[in-house]
Subunit: 203 residues, 2 copies
Amino acid sequence: MNKDIPVISLQRLPIYLNYLKTLSSDEHYISSGFIAKALGMGEVLVRKDLAYTSAVGKPRSGYIKEELISAIEDYLCCNRKRSAVIVGIGALGRAILAYEGFTNYGIEIAYAFDSDKNKIGLEVAKKTIWDISDVKRKLKGQGVELAILCVPSSCAQSVADLLIDCGIRAILNFAPVSIKSPDSVIVRQIDVAANLAILSSMI
Amino acid sequence: MNKDIPVISLQRLPIYLNYLKTLSSDEHYISSGFIAKALGMGEVLVRKDLAYTSAVGKPRSGYIKEELISAIEDYLCCNRKRSAVIVGIGALGRAILAYEGFTNYGIEIAYAFDSDKNKIGLEVAKKTIWDISDVKRKLKGQGVELAILCVPSSCAQSVADLLIDCGIRAILNFAPVSIKSPDSVIVRQIDVAANLAILSSMI
DNA sequence: TAGATTGTTAATCGATTAACAATC
DNA sequence: TAGATTGTTAATCGATTAACAATC
């Protein structure tokens, strides 16, 4: 949808948003320089990033904070309700199911799936765990396009293929394995262990 | 430590490593072109990245797979044992404590901390949960430099400050808030909800 | 030898930063 | 008005890709 913005700028928008939301409610205006300083960035970079959202600032005073928040939220479609599924309800899947931060972005986890017969039917964070073999039936016509993959590496690709076949168009993959997908499907990977190892290498 | 390598190349090393480990053990040689194709990258990029690890390939045949794996592991110090602490044993902290993927990189979670009196003393994944107010005493002289932060946003900064005061030099922060730190301390953030929102924006 | 692949140098591409006019 | 800040254009910087000699 947002094809005009570089992914790297897109990735910074939630950072701005999080920061802006932490500001005291009696701060009416905020300048790019102020944001930049708080986040350790260049101020032109901040202005350029914000310009993608079509936020408009006022010379001399800056941006109206609430307007800026709304501009970023609109750009990220936070007000358009979207549904995600999560597959693999191990410890990580459970944690993500219970996490409430998705609602800030208008995303709701609609279904949880697993293949373990002992888990199917259980409720976690008020969501029933369904059998992954029912995924096609469950998702049919629901317009669910997002998936979170918390399955072991060994089955990540096959589950991803299944999800893509069910109409999923974007996958957040926590398994430390590269997922192959058609060009029409986007995959992002979060490899927690690799992130820590990278940090350690940078010390 | 690895100051010569661009962070973006460093971030790709675990991707290569994960991929190489999935290959059948009777594949003795592997070429950059083959890796590139499998991961959807350019082959010169792969060679450049691998060159940072001082891996050496052979014209005509490619890299010896096991040598390449070792070169990347050495570069990432996977054989040097390092310890991390985790603070905040909610659902996410629990999942990370139970996660075994850190051992691939030679990292062990040595201590778990929380501030909730009801959790202190409990065992999760064979690790005792300690009181965060004991962190300084516990870490003294232990040489622990890595921390994983799974606390609520509201206290992420103060806990980070405390950890830095205890000698922590790198923090993996899961709270959706930017952490301020001195230049000598590196912070990486993983914002799960933001990642999903970004994906959704890219569809 | 011929051909495939590496490693390196040069060219390109894209992102960040610097400079500055516009404006409130 | 003077000064602070935006938004834009040009310059710089860094990463990726292309070209190609070296080599096994």
